[in-house]
Symmetry: C2
Subunit: 238 residues, 2 copies
């Protein structure tokens, strides 16, 4: 399988307040030849966005301050909007969105439980890091969908997520309580494994053809590289 | 105080699938002369919508089916949109939205906890009934705000809530398990007391002048009458 845990090359410790925007993601590698089934692709992407929304609204509700609540509300709205726009694409394809999402609910719910985290900070790190990987992944996977749908899906999923606020919340928490950094660094490593397995299943679940592991591997390397940049942005060692 | 618990006159048991839309609410009684402070009014209304959103997203997450999750997602989006539009009105008034909402957070959070309910059905009933009363109340209270703001606030709060789905979920649950009806009828009576106290505090919190209890009483009678219609719609005795 992929070498998730292979030590990443040491990165210079440049503080980076803003993560790279998804729209700037240059697909050095491509999943274009995988040609995922559009309905299966949309159903998984839509349910995952709903799941990201649920995680965001749970952290919103357990926010220690009204300020954090208000900041997270923009991210919750963005995820819910992405979900509804993907559901609208399913309807446009004459699919029943609920019936289409149903087969993926148990697997995605189980994944969400795995990455939920033991406290508010872990939960926020999970959302920022996992949704980051999954958004990148589904944008790359969209390139394999023929017709305009692929481009529209990439625009929806790669659109504004309003999750940068999590970076400032976590950086400030680490500043006030430095031991948090090593806990979150460990947590971040744990998350990447579960999340790449989720992405790998999404390929198996929606591929029209036998997947070629050799073709997929560079994609995962690219996802890990983006993840490491987000870890850097949080001031954590990937 | 108000006679919340005075037995309402017996209503004919006409099944009513759709609740009256807020926009049809004819203010037989008015709070126009109360002239609430616009900032205090908006801050409470905005935080209450956020609180309704939080309750909706919690019931969404604990939904037993993907269908119910998807149905509740529209109501969650509507409440979050109302919140953000009220926050935008606060910004327009040059208020800091977080600072404006802060003083009301503890009281509204305590109220939300009181009405949370012991199970999914009670939680859904709470959202439908309490948000129904509070939306009606804040629409009525808006009539006392001079300038266009009053009308805009009434349009935001009285706009589409997409909560009708709760009526069909609860009616179907009662049909499959008739004892639920008496439990929810009791719960509905409990809710109305807590919610009218919340509304009463909102008047005290935002009134520019000493409130006149005699003027307020008919407003509460009207709110109770609307509440009884929602109870009827659920097939419950108010």
């Amino acid at each position: 399988m992929f070498e998730f845990f292979k030590r990443q090359k040491v990165r210079p410790e440049v503080p980076r307040l803003k993560p790279r925007n998804n729209s700037e993601l240059i697909p050095k590698v491509s999943l274009a030849e995988l040609s995922p089934d559009p309905i299966l692709y949309l159903a998984q992407a839509a349910y995952l966005q709903l799941s990201i929304f649920e995680a965001l609204s749970a952290t919103l509700s357990s926010s220690p301050t009204v300020e954090a609540k208000e900041q997270l509300s923009a991210a919750a709205a963005a995820a819910l909007d992405k979900h509804h726009r993907l559901v609208a694409e399913l309807s446009r394809k004459k699919a029943n969105p609920v019936a289409a999402m149903q087969p993926f609910a148990a697997q995605i719910d189980a994944y969400s439980l795995l990455i939920r985290g033991a406290n508010w900070y872990e939960s926020l790190a999970s959302i920022y890091l996992c949704a980051g990987i999954l958004d990148d992944f589904f944008v790359l996977l969209a390139s394999g969908i023929r017709s305009d749908l692929g481009q529209r899906a990439a625009q929806i999923i790669g659109g504004e997520s309003s999750r940068e606020v999590i970076v400032s919340i976590l950086r400030s928490a680490i500043e006030h309580h430095p031991p948090l950094a090593s806990m979150l660094a460990l947590w971040g490593r744990r998350l990447v494994g579960d999340t790449l397995l989720m992405a790998h299943s999404a390929i198996s679940n929606s591929a029209n053809q036998q997947k070629d592991e050799k073709r997929i591997e560079p994609v995962f390397t690219e996802l890990i590289s983006q993840h490491s940049q987000r870890m850097d942005g949080l001031g954590l060692t990937a």
